[in-house]
Homo-oligomer: 526 residues x 2
């Protein structure tokens, strides 16, 4: 499959001007520029993609769910069928290892297939029905029925760190398409070739399944121009974004300044605190140190759930943990960061931490001259009072960089957790003898995080029904939803109530004899 | 029960300065000022109410749901027990008739009791559980469980037009308290005495049920000072508001400009289109005209769901409808508007419509000198092209004022519906011979409105499980939720996932043997 370097707009593939500069991927291992050169979308491309999406919305949203499910499955099959071409291009563009990318491809296709199941089960429609009570006094009750309907066309921003699972056909795209919303993807500029390959797989599925043309488009361009133009467009009704805090906040401001504000689901920033409770730490300090550094350095630490903050009580057990973790950091093999920009930001973040008063370096990883964008992992330490008093220590450093915060009491751990911003995850390592202390911390963790782990590490995010990958600001812009798992379809839905709906006009989901066999709440009972 | 004219902050009742002016209700029938004079809350009162709410949050949110349910029921019992004192004060402050206020009191107490039921059923927790798969390859799966948790302290703004059901102990307060969120109410300045009576009933219930002190506070003050201060306060985590478009938009801007933005559920503006389909109109033009005017003039038209826009095809049937409706408007008895401000805005809105080109007055109601703030109902007519071309005709005029829009084809009805902003409701009057046309309109109505009615009038809003009182911007600021019915509890919740949660630390809702008997989704099945 040859890369064309074209925007995919509806069923067409079209080049564009690269006069003002185009987009090329850079291999973060070798530093080489990868062909082809991709054009930058302008107002013409945005207009056409948005109008096609708008035109597609009503027909697409009203298709039988089985047809939408078949489309998602065809997209998954097409992505699988690209085979090594996809993983090899993704390796070249991201520097991520093959096994990781194969796993990520499986996850991406699995997400699409999961949403096909979600559609067929129909639970996501949230049907509630109340029968008419014509004899009720003083006023009769008409029949009432509620179900979820899709919001409208959605703009999705590909993320740098998951070139498949949070990108062109990633979680937000799968959830929005499942919900019945056409999707326009802004490709991440770090992996345009991977984006094109996946985009063509989705485009081909849309064609072969006879979807309305505008159900999917893929555009290349900058965040400040293409990204802003999409979020401003009145036809776009919701936005999915995974990236930096500044990037997410800028999109949110634009969305809120529209004549009609729209929801923005931005995942932005998290340092993912891990609390080591004393009995567990005493029993397993060295094993915890090794496991922590394995999680910290996986994928050069480029995960939104990377464990960036360790909290524990002072003492010899903590010193054993720090010593072991420091040794593991020093031994960690250098890995490539995804892009030159991320490399620069990592270096700046590390330098900023190094410069903070009362913060000391525990260890750093090996340097290398063999990578264009290397990550040299860093581990720092400080005290609770220093952490609480210095907001600069609360910022995420994207990449393998963490801070151990030494606390002198449970109360001080509680103060640190209270001073912290919202997080995607929070973790406790504990054994039974720690449960009483854990009971005191759990309410604070629930308030600050979307997922709470016990005796695990936050870097794995299971795609399932119970997952919450989300959390209070600034980890996300909307703590009421998740970006991973079947519940993420709710991002792109809103409820509608039908009052005294004639049976002949009722969609199958609301018909009296329930022809789709949906799970429904009827008169308050399931 | 004597009115004290005091803020209710936690379990205390405290006066305040009225040096800079205070708040007095005005009887809109007689124009007389009603004692007592209420103080205006300043930073001291906001600080104390917010800190108490913050302190109450964790203990309140972690109470057994049965305790929260008992508190809601005690509040309902206490409101009922105020008896005629409450309805009489509300009549004096609003000019609304006794029967309406008695009905509204029943609805208000019914809402509180409905949420007690919702709590006991536990469905609102949305529990999803997935068991561990320790043998899974290549990676084992930890156990995962998701449930909803409350957002934190909530600020609720009382609405002018429902002094009980959308005010101190109205829908948002009931939903937030049920969700586990402490509530601070900003009393609407038009009915401070009604607010105090209801506030004391809730305060007394909180005391007698041994709730944490800060679970409820009631403050008096202006939107620009007290309202803004509450929305800016970092301890407030969500806002419920029903009122004007300008007022809602101002709160939204403030909430979004916070270092940590928060959700604002503002219900603002809706003209509630009603489409009269041709066969039904032909058969029942006169009856429809009478029923329309009854809905239009009920409560002087001061409903967010007031039918402000009639759409129909030109022809003799429409002329019969207009003639009948015009006659009914001319006969409509004058009724008081709620406040001098609403009276002024109504007069301005009517004057603005009168001045628009190609808009003609069909009829207006009787004038009166016996009311301080009279509503003289108005009915206007225009053409579809005029409506589509003039945004001023799309604005809500709060009160009994409506516009008939004459269309020359179904396509033109579709154009009008497409040109329209988001609405709380949309209605079709139809008979079987109209179903084919209704099928063409229904998708457009679903896109524009939160509730779609058939052969009814939108002014009644049933409190039940299936209701959606919400809709796309500007009818509300967040179309993904409802402000009426049991689903409104979701406004104040967010999901949390627990990974490998030890059974000993699990809340009852997530324990393996389901001691609360909750409806739960387990491994993808209910």
């Amino acid at each position: 499959m040859t890369l064309e370097g074209h925007h995919l707009i509806g069923f067409t593939s079209q080049g564009g001007s690269t006069d003002g500069g185009g987009i090329s991927a850079i291999n973060p291992v070798s530093g080489e520029t990868l062909a082809p050169l991709y054009p930058m979308a302008g107002q013409t491309e945005v207009e056409r993609a948005c109008q096609l999406a708008e035109d597609a919305f009503l027909p697409y949203s009203r298709l039988p769910v089985a047809d939408r499910a078949a489309f998602l499955e065809a997209a998954a099959d097409n992505i699988d069928a690209i085979g090594d071409t996809l993983t090899e291009r993704a390796m070249a563009e991201t520097g991520l290892p093959k096994a990781r990318l194969e796993g990520e491809r499986g996850r991406t296709c699995g997400q699409l297939r999961l949403f096909a199941e979600v559609l067929r089960s129909g639970d996501y429609l949230g049907v509630r029905i109340e029968d008419a009570l014509p004899e009720r006094t003083p006023m009769p009750r008409p029949s009432l029925a509620q179900q979820q309907v899709p919001l409208g066309p959605v703009a999705v921003f590909g993320a740098s760190n998951f070139p498949l699972a949070f990108s062109v056909a990633g979680g937000d795209t799968a959830a929005a398409l499942a919900a019945g919303c056409p999707v326009i993807v802004k490709a991440h500029s770090a992996h345009p070739g991977t984006s094109e390959l996946v985009g063509r797989a989705v485009q081909q599925a849309a064609k072969s399944c006879s979807m309305p043309e505008g159900v999917f488009s893929l555009l290349y361009g900058s965040g400040s121009e293409l990204g802003q133009a999409l979020v401003k467009d009145p036809r776009i009704q919701a936005v999915g974004f995974t990236g930096s805090r500044n990037g997410g906040a800028a999109l949110l401001r634009t969305a809120q300044a529209r004549p009609q504000p729209i929801p923005v689901y931005a995942e932005m920033s998290s340092i993912n605190p891990v609390v080591l409770l004393p009995q567990q730490l005493e029993a397993n300090a060295e094993a915890l140190g090794d496991a922590f550094v394995a999680s910290l350095t996986m994928g050069a630490g480029q995960f939104c759930t990377n464990p960036g903050l360790i909290l524990a009580l002072s003492g010899t057990a903590l010193e054993r943990f720090v010593e072991q973790a420091g040794a593991a950091v020093r031994e960690a093999a250098p890995q490539p960061l995804l892009t030159p920009d991320i490399h620069t930001a990592y270096q700046q973040g590390v330098a900023q931490l190094t410069d903070q008063p009362d913060v000391s370096l525990v260890a750093k990883g090996k340097a290398t001259v063999h990578l264009a964008c290397p990550c040299q992992p860093h581990l720092f330490r400080t005290t609770a009072n220093t952490f609480i008093g210095n907001d600069a220590l609360h910022d995420e450093v994207f990449g393998a960089c963490a801070l151990v915060v030494e606390c002198d009491s449970v109360a001080q751990i509680q103060q640190v957790l209270t001073a912290m911003e919202g997080q995607l995850t929070a973790t406790m390592h504990l054994e039974e003898a720690d449960y009483a202390m854990a009971d005191q911390l759990l309410p604070l963790l629930e308030r600050r995080a979307g997922r709470i782990l016990f005796n695990g590490w936050p870097t794995g995010v299971e795609v399932c029904h119970s997952m919450v990958h989300g959390g209070p600001w600034p980890s996300t812009s909307d703590s009421r939803t998740t970006s991973v798992g079947s519940a993420s379809i709710q991002r792109f839905l809103r409820p509608v109530c039908y009052q005294a709906l004639p049976e002949a006009l009722a969609p199958d989901s609301l018909k009296a004899d329930n022809p789709l066999g949906l799970p429904r709440q009827v008169n308050g009972k399931r």
